[in-house]
């Protein structure tokens, strides 16, 4: 019985590690291809960056940086 259990465990290990490698290797490939495609067809996607942040320009950049840090300090701690 115990030997059977051990055999199962070995099987699981072989298949498990194998699958982990297959999966992550596949991710390397797919990710690399994806990055190449993205770089090739530099998309004109109008991707949001900070478009939904309404922040009028009369605040100088340094103040803004200070405030952002303050808010970050507040939210991340």
């Amino acid at each position: 019985m115990d030997n059977n259990l051990l055999a199962e465990a070995i099987n699981l290990t072989l298949f498990g590690m194998g699958f982990v490698f297959v999966f992550l290797t596949l991710m390397v490939l797919v990710t690399t291809v994806m990055s190449l495609l993205v770089k090739r067809f530099q998309p004109n996607l109008n991707l949001a960056t900070t478009s939904n942040i309404e922040f009028s320009s009369d605040i100088d950049e340094k103040t803004e940086a200070i405030i952002k840090k303050a808010i970050k300090m507040h939210t991340k701690t």
């Binding site: 051990l6 390397v28 996607l45 478009s51």
Partner: protein
Amino acid sequence: MEQFNILWNNTGLYQMVWGQGLMLLVGILLIYLAIVKKFEPLLLLPIGFGAILSNIPGANLAVDGGILHLFYMVGIESGAFPLIIFMGVGALTDFGPLLANPKTLILGAAAQFGIFATLLGAVGLSALGVFDFNLKQAAAIGIIGGADGPTSIYVASILAPELLGAIAVASYSYMALVPLIQPPIMRAMTTEKERQIKMVQLREVSKTEKIIFPIILLLLVALLLPAAAPLLGMFAFGNLMKESGVVNRLSDTTQNALINIVTIFLGLAVGSKLMAEKFLQLDTLGILVLGLVAFAIGTTSGLLMAKLMNIFSKNKVNPLIGSAGVSAVPMAARVSNKVGLESDPHNFLLMHAMGPNVAGVIGSAIAAGIMIQFLA
């Protein structure tokens, strides 16, 4: 006088068995580690407190009808808490360094050998009669080597809920101990020259790549390992919310209020699994030993894989970033950086190590999916 007797018979003092007393001390120890030693305080403080609450004699907080038992049933038995935490972790993760150097994914794969070696060890020691773990339990223990708290809790809640308390405590404790566990292994497995390898600077990664990545991850999981879909699906969802830039208010709440609320109740609920009669067993000791072994083997296999890759690859990797493949984000990556600086004070490995570090999160979720697929 009758009242006095009732009162006295109902005190914790009168009802306490030695195990409960010991567990109160364990709870205090965990709180001490959290506060004074800063061991993963976000989890170990609530878990430690939950351990005390669960072992108050006569209070019955961790059994049917108790509030901690309620938290456990609602949040962990259902799978919701670890999955929500994983969504939050996704929203806090930056895949930039990984996308800049995708082959570090392989390091995140190699480090999962700690999981399976430990599974083998647990089964082997049970065959030898040292412990008495079945295959499900062995798998749940192995996942400790994934160095990922929510993954460990999720797998344990499915495969071996009776061991969940010990597994969670081992998982978070060893994650906190990464700066102690890893460096000796790292120094032993690498040469000074290897530790001085300078890696090529990481390229800039575009927003578009970062947005597409979680969708690719989700689809690969969907096609190849549906059993990992809950974990990696929620993870990818959190990451997509963050990177898409169009749902900032959802992403912010996920990274803050939501993950914090769930962390509190997850911790207390895990504490409910630290009741004396369940926790004070030889099994727990086995879990602690095997968990440490899992971390060590994972660290080693990550390092070795990095050295192996250098044989075949032109762009050498510093093998010190291999150990970050166990995850324990971002602690393990910081350890890679720190050990690297010992050999070359101008060689900052932090960003390079972030790649295998987040790859390790994916890797152990895949390993978890395999375990659930075959054993649940």
